[in-house]
Amino acid sequence: MPLSVNTLFFASYRELVGASMLSVELEEGATVGDLVQELRGRGAPFDALPAEPAIAVNHTYAMLDEPLGQGDEIAFIPPVAGG
């Protein structure tokens, strides 16, 4: 059964991708790293996303080996600049 996740892009990544949200289908058991690879494999503009980006899964920072679940919210987080 395919896995559907919502991918969010913020700030410079949103400008780069040209969208703030994208629904992506992945194979069951896919990880954050698989999602990044799948997107970058689509070519421009996605191949300009870093291969090792900062990612948050359901509002918590995660590494590339984090497994994904149905309906997860995966955010691509450019370097942050609060304060």
Partner: protein
């Protein structure tokens, strides 16, 4: 939510009144209160700035700020931490962040307030776009959050905005 142990914590577009934030902390046990106010300044790296836009991943920023405030409360030894971070378009002199803490002794207040602002700059999913006086604009160079591939794997590659 990580902010269960602190007095107040919010991220959003409302104008920040630092005095109101300060007024939320304090107790008869406390000998020290500290208020930090971050303000949009008129220059950045030598370039004249006319304003700033703050973007945020709102739901996550609220959660992350709650966790930061909770960690500061542990340092403080009290729950008396109040913090607000603003989003949207800000003019020069407008308050972007206010952090108030209080504690029996001063050292804890200084350490806790400093911790909150330093962690905000490291971890809070907020981004600033500077509007320069010459009409151009640009994203402020940011920090790579710990606990991500960008921090541990490919800092050099992913640490700069594309």
């Amino acid at each position: 939510m990580g902010d269960a142990r602190v007095i107040h914590c919010s991220v959003g577009p409302d104008v920040i009144d630092p005095i109101e934030v300060l007024s939320q902390v304090g107790s008869d046990e406390d000998g020290a209160a500290l208020l930090f106010v971050g303000v949009v300044r008129n220059h950045a790296d030598g370039r004249p700035v006319s304003g700033m836009r703050y973007d945020a991943y709102l739901e996550m920023a609220q959660k992350e700020l709650g966790e930061i405030a909770g960690e500061a409360a542990e340092k403080l030894g009290t729950d008396r931490v109040a913090v607000e971070h603003r989003t949207g378009e800000l003019e020069i002199g407008e308050v972007s962040v206010a952090i108030a803490v209080s504690s029996p002794h001063r050292a804890q207040s200084f350490d806790a307030a400093r911790y909150v602002i330093e962690e905000i700059k490291k971890r809070l999913p907020v981004w600033k776009k500077e509007h320069y006086q010459d009409g151009t604009e640009g994203w402020v160079k940011g920090a790579v959050p710990p606990g991500t591939a960008a921090a541990t794997g490919g800092v050099a590659k992913a640490g700069t905005t594309t």
